[in-house]
């Protein structure tokens, strides 16, 4: 499994953590961020979310993010998986897993990766609400 992926299928946190741990036995702390689909957003019920991506640029941007995190933070390995599919409330959307010798850089890099992913990776979500479908406007 590649360390960064955009895929339609659901992912396994266990499998990603296991793959991360295989990278090095020096990893002492692992931080994860899991993003899930909500059933309510900006005052409206949400029945489902459909994602769209610009595939070649998304793959490139995710790979660059991981590389930058490995340089910027004192971490050993990082994995990022983002789904592009129609998902219903409760389903998994995105996973970031970061391994470091110690917890502080693992947490910091994990936070930085999800924040930068939202800013830099060309993926969009469209929500199905009782008032119809709408593209989501990002909030900072």
């Amino acid at each position: 499994m590649d360390a960064v992926r955009v895929q339609e299928a659901d992912f396994s946190i266990e499998a990603e953590v296991t793959a991360l741990r295989r990278a090095s036995s020096r990893i002492g702390g692992i931080a994860t961020f899991l993003g899930c689909a909500r059933d309510f957003s900006e005052g409206r019920e949400v029945a489902a979310i459909t994602f769209e991506q610009y595939a070649p640029m998304a793959a490139k941007a995710l790979g660059a993010l991981r590389e930058e995190a490995l340089v910027r933070f004192d971490i050993i390995e990082a994995r990022i998986v983002h789904r592009v599919a129609r998902v219903t409330p409760g389903e998994q959307i995105v996973l970031i897993v970061v391994g470091a010798e110690h917890r502080a850089p693992a947490f910091e890099a994990c936070r930085w990766l999800i924040d930068e992913l939202k800013r830099r990776v060309p993926i969009w979500k469209r929500e199905e609400t009782p008032a119809g479908e709408r593209w989501v406007t990002p909030h900072p």
Binding site: E52, Y54, K118, P122, I123, K125
Partner: protein, 76 residues
């Protein structure tokens, strides 16, 4: 020869198309591509040329380039 233009999300919806091909001789820069694609003035648009974000509307566009016109990202 041509410049391939790809439109995404709300931008594709507003303009009614997801892809178009422009004559490379008819577009000199990013601003020309945005105008030719029918994007609205003042619309918040992110532009990538060959998969790299470009901030300058006067950035050159050349034959064979792939230009993406994108709304602000909302992944994650």
């Amino acid at each position: 020869m041509s410049v391939r233009v790809l439109l995404f999300g709300a931008v594709a919806e507003r303009t009614g198309r997801r892809e178009l091909s422009l004559d490379a001789d008819a577009v000199a820069d990013v601003a020309d591509v945005v105008a030719a694609a029918g994007c609205r003035d003042g619309e918040t648009l992110l532009v990538a040329v060959n998969h790299e974000l470009v901030r300058d509307p006067r950035a050159r566009v050349r034959d064979g380039d792939e230009v993406a016109l994108m709304p602000p990202f909302s992944g994650g």
